[in-house]
């Protein structure tokens, strides 16, 4: 499975792969480009990845999720290149017998990808400026580039 895509992610096709006769619950997360960031109007995002390492880490993250929860399906695909407003930058799909596992695993996977996978967003604004943005800054809290504060562990 290829976890990176240089072209529009075909969500209906991925969802069609996510049905499973033992799965009563399918959860899909789509991370999409917003029209604003840092108070400025966003024109588009551009994603860069260290592809070999990103592929490997995304496969590892899905494997970790499968070891933590009983999943029938675990899919993750991240865009590279230009992603216009309202288009999908990343999609995560999980399926399991019951819904609480599918939700929990889905959050785990997206949090891990955002904090750990070597993928970077550059925001291009309508005023012509650009900014490498929204970096994981957990190191400022944890003091370690390999220790993160995950949303899925909160609340």
């Amino acid at each position: 499975m290829n976890h990176l895509s240089a072209h529009t992610i075909d969500i209906p096709a991925l969802l069609a792969m996510a049905h499973h006769p033992k799965a009563g619950a399918v959860v899909l997360f789509s991370g999409e480009t917003r029209d604003n960031s840092h108070g400025k109007e966003v024109s588009y995002l551009e994603y860069e990845a260290q592809e070999a390492l990103a592929e490997k880490m995304m496969a590892d993250i899905l494997q970790q999720a499968k070891e933590k929860w009983q999943l029938n399906v675990a899919i993750a695909v991240h865009r590279t290149g230009k992603v216009p407003v309202s288009e999908t930058a990343v999609v995560v799909i999980t399926a399991s017998a019951h819904r609480s596992e599918a939700y929990a695993a889905n959050r785990f996977i997206i949090d891990k990808i955002k904090h750990e996978a070597p993928i970077w967003k550059c925001e291009y604004f309508t005023d012509g400026s650009k900014e490498w943005g929204g970096n994981c800054n957990c190191r400022e809290i944890t003091g370690d580039v390999n220790k993160h504060v995950y949303e899925f562990e909160g609340k």
Binding site: G31, L53, K114, W120, R139
Partner: protein, 77 residues
């Protein structure tokens, strides 16, 4: 050794370049690059280093044949 940089690091360094200095560890490489380009010191201290598709620690011993990928903090999603 050959260095590859990504994302915001490309505002400070070439995308690929060669380092000929005798550097023993990843920490030495980090120090060397920070001295070479002080404006990049802060971002470099937040980066991870990868060799052969694996992250390596600061005390990892480098060889002249290594390709070293310097990985800024993730901002995917």
């Amino acid at each position: 050794m050959k260095i590859y940089t990504y994302a915001i690091l490309k505002d400070y360094f070439d995308k690929e370049f060669i380092v000929d200095e005798q550097l023993v560890t990843v920490q030495d490489l980090n120090n060397f690059l920070s001295q070479h380009n002080p404006a990049a010191a802060t971002i470099l201290s937040a980066c991870r280093y990868a060799v052969k598709d694996n992250f390596v620690t600061d005390d990892f011993i480098l060889t002249t044949e290594d390709s070293i990928h310097i990985i800024p903090p993730s901002s995917g999603g």
